[in-house]
């Protein structure tokens, strides 16, 4: 019987053959934490250890509330800066560098075959680069700092095969929303998902990331893809760690298999207040909007900016709409700045914010008022997610967000 990528990567880590359902203790290659590192460091010291077990295993990135919104956040950041200095954690990125899940691969901390954990649910993202990566809790990160180990259950794997050519303007986000709508918010609970098929092979690095990033929204432990040539080219410039791509065996056993053909895919939207409350955009066309949140680890890369700039160029965001723009990282910001796109977005009436998570979990930078409707290119629309439980968040692709910003209503861009 063949093995899936998860069984192979986790098996390599413990030096034996593993099967789904088995619980193993492993030492991750990389452990990522963000603004929650202050709380993690306090828990770490409570264990009674003075020195982090392997400082170079850790990557710490400040992104969740940058710059600090009040003294609590400021103290939090200060504690983290002191902690990484004291512990010799060299892989530290301060508030200007960007969203953790973007910075991780930009700075070479992600490679095919790596076992990565992060104290953030969207850690599933790095599977787009052929890594096995899963989210963990804060105490677990503190325990890894103390003894370098974590228990993991070897997951069953679901295969999602995608084929067909995307219709003009329809994107990976529309596909992911379609998948979430069909499989459901708990459809992949505890499972790994392997995305494959000719469409996945042809997708850009940024688009592939959308799928593994949102794998957690349908309950997955990890998302995975075999790195395509574009991915390998991207990594070549950045990764210094030696690596070998890990592929599932042709006769590997999958728990279930889904097929999606994108050739007739429509622009999709997740309505409040859950990611699987998905319908074609045409069904909610005309809904009045108050704010657009173009940002997040899901959709704020250069290819997303190109789509948005091409829509807004020479036009004006509707006077009733506030359009907030958050580049995913400093690298993305500099690139789009040099292309002149930031000027065009500002001229169109957008508010340009610094790279970071922005309002994604309601900390600051764009909390909606009671009754307001927000179109977001992010990944979660839970009640209160943007900081106000009396607001309504719809999840869309960057193109749907930009086209709707012009008229102040949800639009189907095909019209």
């Amino acid at each position: 019987m063949g093995k899936t990528f998860s069984e192979k990567i986790l098996g390599q880590k413990v030096g034996k053959s593993v099967v789904p359902g088995e619980i193993i203790e492993v030492e991750p290659d990389v452990a990522m934490s963000h603004d929650n590192t202050a709380a993690i460091s306090k828990t770490f010291y409570k264990i009674g250890v003075d020195q982090v077990y392997k400082p170079d295993m850790h990557v710490v990135i400040l992104d969740h509330c940058t710059p600090a919104a009040n003294e609590k956040f400021a103290e939090n950041h200060k504690d983290i800066r002191e902690f990484v200095r004291k512990q010799g954690i060299r892989n530290f990125y301060d508030i200007h560098v960007g969203i953790c899940h973007q910075v991780m691969h930009e700075k070479g901390h992600v490679w095919p075959g790596a076992l990565i954990v992060g104290s953030d649910s969207h850690t599933t993202s790095y599977g787009a680069f052929g890594a096995f990566s899963a989210g963990i809790g804060r105490s677990e990160m503190a325990a890894i700092m103390a003894r370098g180990k974590i228990w993991l259950r070897v997951p069953e794997t679901i295969k999602i095969v995608v084929d067909g050519e995307f219709p003009e303007g329809v994107s990976a986000k529309d596909l992911m929303l379609k998948i979430a709508g069909e499989i459901g918010a708990d459809g992949a609970l505890y499972k790994a998902i392997e995305f494959c098929g000719p469409t996945i092979d042809k997708m850009s690095v940024a688009s592939r990331f959308v799928l593994t990033n949102m794998a957690v929204e349908i309950g997955a432990k990890a998302g995975y893809m075999i790195p395509n040539q574009a991915t390998l080219d991207y990594l070549k410039e950045r990764v210094t760690h030696p690596f070998e791509t890990v592929e599932s065996d042709p006769d590997a056993e999958y728990e279930s298999e889904y097929h999606f053909d994108v050739s007739a895919l429509e622009p999709m939207i997740a309505k409040p207040h859950s990611v699987d409350n998905v319908v074609p955009v045409s069904e909610v066309k005309g809904t009045k909007i108050d704010q657009v949140f173009f940002g997040s680890c899901t959709n704020a890369r250069v290819e997303d900016f190109k789509i948005v700039v091409d829509v807004l160029r020479g036009k004006k965001v509707h006077s009733n709409v506030r359009m907030l723009v958050f580049p995913a990282s400093l690298e993305v910001y500099l690139d789009v700045l040099k292309k002149g796109w930031i000027t065009e977005l500002v001229e169109a009436g957008c508010v340009i914010m610094n790279p970071g998570c922005g309002p994604c979990m309601g900390n600051h930078e764009g909390v909606p008022a009671n009754g307001e409707v927000v179109l977001a290119t992010s990944n979660r629309n839970f009640k209160g997610r943007l900081g106000n439980k009396e607001s309504f968040v719809y999840l869309v692709s960057p193109r749907t967000a930009a086209v709707s910003a012009l008229t102040g209503k949800i639009e189907d861009f095909r019209n």
Partner: protein, 164 residues
């Protein structure tokens, strides 16, 4: 361990943001204050009326969303003795174990339990006693039970390192 209290029953997909809102993740850090905002965006009556030993009952995918540990710990601080659900989101389940909060899986018990009824759980025997009868829940995997028995991951890690 015996857990005795009243049932607080909710539906499917109770997410971490309604259990412990994201806007509080870095600002509400005192344990008493954390208990006061528990389930704020789902049931404003909960924090005011919850008593020690009460049990939260959810449907499928309980605790989906963020990795935030406070969504488990705020319930511990509010006195909740256990959470029973049909299924748990993965990171949430881990956070419960790591915080010593029993996260019990029993679809039959969830269907039978009613909001406000009295409940008694015997974690050693793996039994839930309620109006509708006795329901069994599966034990934790043997590899993980040590963490729970130590009182959570931090005491367990101390023990592993010979520090506790």
């Amino acid at each position: 361990m015996i857990i005795k209290g009243k049932v607080w029953k909710y539906g499917n997909d109770v997410n971490t943001d309604v259990i412990f809102p994201g806007k509080y993740t870095y600002t509400v850090t005192d344990t008493t204050e954390m208990a006061k905002v528990a389930l704020e965006d789902l049931d404003p009556e909960f924090a005011k009326n919850v008593k020690k030993g009460d049990v939260i009952v959810g449907g499928t995918n309980f605790g989906c969303g963020s990795s935030r540990e406070q969504a488990a710990s705020c319930l511990v601080y509010s006195g909740v003795g256990a959470v029973i659900a049909k299924t748990f989101a993965r990171i949430y389940f881990r956070n419960c174990i790591n915080f010593g909060l029993p996260a019990l899986t029993s679809a039959q018990a969830v269907d039978a339990l009613e909001h406000g009824e009295s409940i008694e759980i015997d974690t050693d025997k793996g039994e839930i006693h309620c109006k509708a009868g006795v329901f069994i829940f599966p034990p934790l995997p043997k590899e993980v039970v040590g963490i729970f028995d130590a009182g959570g991951l931090i005491p367990y890690t101390k023990k592993q390192l010979g520090l506790g």
